[in-house]
Every structure is written in structure tokens, then in C-alpha cells.
Amino acid sequence: MNISNISADSNASTNSNASNEPSVKAGNNNAALLLRQLGAIVRIEINNTLFSKRSLIAYILTLIPIILLLSLAFSNGDFTSTDFSIDKTRRIFGFIYSGFILGAVVFLGSAAIFTALFRGEILGCSMHYYLLSPVRRELIVLGKFLAGLFSAWALFGLTTLICYLLLYIPFGMTQLISDMTGSIAPAQMFTYLGITMLGCIGYGSLFMATGLIFRNPLFPVAIIAGWEFIHFVLPPALKFFSVIHYLKGLLPIPLNNSPLAIVVTPPSVLVSILSIMVLALCSITITVLYLKRLEIRYTEN
């Protein structure tokens, strides 16, 4: 570093300030500034979520159902049996989707992605970089949530899509093209993708709050997992506090209930969507309130 250069640069910086400041100030208190800041948060967080070591679990979870279905498709199963039809396969996919993709991949993947949004920063001692930036706390939460949602849906939506397409391996391209140009397959596929997104919204918002509030989010995640796992035996009044209850009500193919299940009428599509949105809104609000009270300590203790 050359001291005379510093001086020159400082002057340059003072001059450039003239060009920097107005653009910042001009954007102050207006939508353009907020959008630029939101865009920056989303971009930074997508990089952190999809292209860092902490995304490994999400990638593994994304690949498991694909590998599983691929191995099933190329196994020596008797696909020529009369019992084996595309309708039956779609039903089987419904079970795989609700039990495995939704119940395990989306749930655990969302837990991995969304809890790390804040906890990862706090553990890495880099949270203060956000808190020292002139960004409204609401915007930090919203940006992180949107980045988490984009990442989760990109990964788990892709899994859903690929798994759905893998159904057609035993039936060949003709069946695939015929179904895709018809109405059933695209409708089902988009419904599954929509449910995956709602799952990411519901679980994601919950886990984002969990990651900020709890020092070790593993325990609350385990409790939520247990609650979701036993939802089918819960009395009707308690089922309403389960995310999976609303998601299963949206499945395109109604599935048989377990013999132990306490059967209730599934909520309507509108109620399901609204309930998950309300849950997300509450979780995000709690996260914002908590973040506004958050203090960072960089002391030896």
C-alpha cells in the first residue's frame, strides 16, 4: 500500500461519494432501494444455501428418492403383469410422494435449509454483518425466507418432477408423451409441485423461526417431526395444528388411511392454502420480532 495512493484514493472516494450518495439517497424510503436490498439478500442467501457445504444434506435428500425410483424402475419387476398399470403406478407414486418425498425429503430438507438461514450465520459469527447493514429487519427476514424458499423448491420441486417422470420408465416414451399432452399427468404434476411449494412455505417458515430462536434447533425439529409423524392418530381438533394434514388434503389422488387413523374430512383446497399461509405469516412475524430484539455479543465469554 502506498500512502500517497491512499490519499489519492481518498480523494477519489470523496469524489465518488458524490456519485454514490445521491443514488443511495435517491432510493431512500422508496421501493427501488428496498428492492435492491431485498435482491441483494436473496442473492447472497441463495449462494449460501445452494453453493456451500451446508447445502450437502439438502442435495443428498434431493437425490435419495430419485435413486430409489431409478433402482425400482430398472429392477427386475414384472411390469407386464395385468395388475401393473399406469393408474396403479400413479397411486403408488401418491404414497411415495406423501410418505417419503413430503414426509421426509421436504420436511428434513426444509429443516436443513431454513434452520441454517439464521443459525448458520450465528454459529459462523457472521450475523453481525447483516445487523450492521442499513436494512430493515423485516427485509432481512423476508429476503432470507425467499432465498430459502427458492432453494428448497428448486431442489425438492426438481425431485418431485423427476420422480414423477421416472414413473413412466416402465411404460415408455409413448405413454409419457400421450399423458403429457393429455390433462391428467400435467394437472397431477403441477399439483404435486404446488404441494411441494406449500410444504416448503409451511415447514420453511416454521424452521426459519426455530433456527433463530433456539440455540440448538435439533430438539424442536425432532418434536415437530414427531408431531407430524403421529398426525393421523391425533384427534380432529389437534390435526388442525399439523402442516401435513393440510398438505395431504391437497393430494390429487386420495390415499387410503391407515387402520389406526382417526379419519376426518380433509380441508378444502382454499382452507389448506390459507392455513399454511397464515402459519407462514405468523412464523415470519415471530422471526422479525425476535430479530429486532437480537443482540450480538463478541466478547471473550
Binding site: M1, N2, I3, N5, I6, S7, D9, S10, A12, S13, T14, S16, N17, S19, N20, S23, V24, G27, N28, L33, R36, Q37, G39, A40, I41, R43, I44, N47, N48, F51, S52, K53, R54, E121, G124, C125, S126, H128, Y129, Y130, L131, L132, S133, P134, V135, R136, R137, E295, I296, R297, Y298, T299, E300, N301
Partner: protein
């Protein structure tokens, strides 16, 4: 006395700059940081208690032993913590308005933590984008900040691969990239080699002369002496002293060492004892400097000014010798610790 000429020369220049800066600090600056009766507790543990001071533009050294409350105080000023009682304002703003408040603040913590996987350039760029800069403005300001800390050549390398000194400098660049009015630096010279220290200190002076208020914490008293125009001393969560080094020394009654550079040094030496407050006079080995030990700096300067005028002496430089802060520290803090 075994002060080498070359050291004395640098002390001489530093002293001159410091006296000028201190005068500027006292005379021109309006308080940009006002800490009013601030207390912070961590449960039952005291962080800081009933601390009040105000700071203007210039460089302030925050001094105290480990656990004295320096980091707590800096976190409070930076808005990363809220006080349990009292008020704290930076340029009249509070952290309750983050979108305005944090535009004025740059904070370089002493901790070696960065967002994972980023390069030096991305680190600065992301900060500026979060501030709301447009991409082109952010890129320009990033380059400017990197140039200021001399990291342009390694800007596209991941920070994980940086040396300790480079990490320290990139944190510094991050703290100043948005041209804040208040810069808080926790142990900013840690890990820097002597050359980099000199350059970074020059950068601090440059920023301070541009009107920024800079708070620097350091446990290396010699560094504080070298950099700061103003001192805030804390110990066990309490404010121990606040002011410029000579003022504090006078108030505490701690004898102060003053260095005078002049070709008339030999002539001056015997006449120094005519000034009431002078306790000791030492002649520099090159015969062109004097070290004066005085119990009251103000009285000494008054008497010395009169002598200079009557004797028609030429004075090249005058200012506190480099052990002042250490002496005050010993008197106010170390002594207290021994006593307790």
C-alpha cells in the same frame, strides 16, 4: 536514556501531528457520539455501568484491560446491543432506525469471522449491495475500498486463504467501504506487520482528517499513544478517564513526560527549572531534544511559552512523549488492580 535518534524523530513528527489533531478535535468538532449514563448488564454480570462521554471527529483510543468493558461499549455504540439504561446516540440517531443509523457506522470487530466461501471482493461488494448501492456504484466503491487497504491483487481470492494481516485489512475495508461518519475498530492493528501498521495508521489519520469519528480499541498502549487524539479509559465496566492524554495526566496528578525538539535544547535545559511545575529534565543524546517531566502540563506550557518568547528560541516540535498513555494507564488502572 537510550532513545535512538531515528525514534526520537518519528516521535517528534507524531507528537506534532497529535498536538494539531488534538487541538482540532477539541476546537472544531461537535459531538458525533453521545453516551449518556449508559449501563449494560449480562444477567448479574456487569458489562459497563453509568458511562457518559461524548466524542467528536478525530481518533479516540479506547483503553482498558481485558474484560474492562471495551467490546461491550463498542457493541453498544455500534448498535449491536441495547443498553439496560441510559441513552446512546450517534449523529443524533439511534439503532431503532437501522436504515439510517447503520449508514453512518462502520464496525470492524476483532473477531476473525466472515461469511463462508466469499472472496475479498464479494465480501465488500455484498456489503455495499446491502446498503442499497447500485451494482455499478458498488463495484466502484469496492475497488476504492480495496485500494485503500492494498488488497486489489488478492481481491478475487477466497478470504479463507488470506493471511491474518490480509483478513484484518479486508475487515477494515468492509468497515469503511460505505464511507461512514463513525468508524469503530476493535484491535484493528492485530496481525499487521510493521509496514502495514504504518500504512493503516496513515489511513486512519486520513479518514479522521476527512471528518470521521474513529474509535480504536487496543491493549497496546504505544499504538494508542501513536494514533489517538483523545482517550477513553475503562476498567471493570466503569469510565476511568476521558480526555486528551495531557489533560488526563494533569487531572490525575500523574507526572507527564513532554518532548521538545529544538536546536536550542542545551540552552533551554537549565532554564526549564525556572518553570514551577518541572520535576526533571533530560537531554536527548543528539543534543537537539529535551524530555521534560512535569506534574502539571498546563502550567508547564504556560511557563514554556513565556520563556520561548523572552529568549527568542526556535522550537521545531513539542508534544507528549510516547510513554504518557502507559503512565496514565499504570496510574489509573494497573495501580487500582494491584490495590484491589
Amino acid at each position: 536514556m537510550t532513545v535512538k535518534t531515528i525514534n526520537a524523530g518519528s516521535t517528534n513528527l507524531d507528537a506534532t501531528k497529535k498536538v494539531n489533531a488534538a487541538q482540532k478535535f477539541a476546537a472544531e468538532s461537535l459531538p458525533s457520539i453521545v453516551v449518556d449514563n449508559v449501563s449494560k448488564f449480562y444477567g448479574d454480570v456487569l458489562g459497563v455501568n453509568r458511562i457518559s462521554f461524548s466524542l467528536g471527529a478525530g481518533i479516540t483510543g479506547l483503553v482498558g484491560p481485558n474484560g474492562a468493558g471495551k467490546s461491550t461499549l463498542m457493541n453498544l455504540i455500534a448498535g449491536l446491543m441495547r443498553p439496560n439504561s441510559g441513552t446512546l446516540k450517534v449523529l443524533g440517531l439511534t439503532p431503532a432506525q437501522p436504515e439510517v443509523f447503520f449508514r453512518q457506522i462502520g464496525y470492524c470487530t476483532q473477531y476473525d469471522s466472515f461469511p463462508t466461501g466469499v472472496t475479498g471482493r464479494q465480501f465488500i461488494l455484498n456489503t455495499l449491495l446491502l446498503h442499497g448501492y447500485t451494482k455499478s456504484d458498488a463495484a466502484r466503491a469496492t475497488l476504492n475500498a480495496l485500494q485503500q487497504v492494498d488488497l486489489v491483487d488478492v481481491a478475487d481470492r477466497r478470504i479463507e486463504g488470506y493471511s491474518k494481516g490480509m483478513r484484518q485489512r479486508i475487515k477494515l475495508a468492509q468497515a469503511i467501504c460505505h464511507e461512514p461518519k463513525v468508524i469503530i475498530l476493535d484491535e484493528p492493528l492485530n496481525g499487521l506487520d510493521p509496514m502495514a501498521r504504518t500504512q493503516v495508521i496513515a489511513l486512519f489519520r486520513e479518514l479522521a482528517s476527512g471528518g470521521a469519528s474513529i474509535i480504536i480499541s487496543s491493549h497496546i498502549l504505544h499504538e494508542v499513544e501513536l494514533i489517538a487524539d483523545h482517550l477513553v479509559m475503562v476498567n471493570s465496566g466503569y469510565l476511568v478517564a476521558d480526555g486528551d492524554a495531557s489533560g488526563i495526566a494533569t487531572e490525575t496528578g500523574e507526572p507527564m513526560r513532554i518532548y521538545i525538539r529544538s536546536h536550542h535544547a542545551m540552552e533551554m535545559a537549565p532554564k526549564m527549572f525556572t518553570i514551577e511545575a518541572v520535576l526533571e529534565v533530560q537531554i536527548h543524546k543528539d543534543d537537539h531534544g529535551l524530555f521534560i517531566l512535569t506534574r502539571d502540563a498546563n502550567k508547564f506550557f504556560l511557563g514554556f511559552n513565556t520563556l520561548v518568547l523572552t529568549q527568542n528560541w526556535q522550537v521545531d516540535a513539542i508534544g507528549p512523549a510516547d510513554q504518557t498513555v502507559e503512565a496514565i494507564y499504570r496510574h489509573l488502572i494497573a495501580g487500582e488492580q494491584v490495590a484491589s
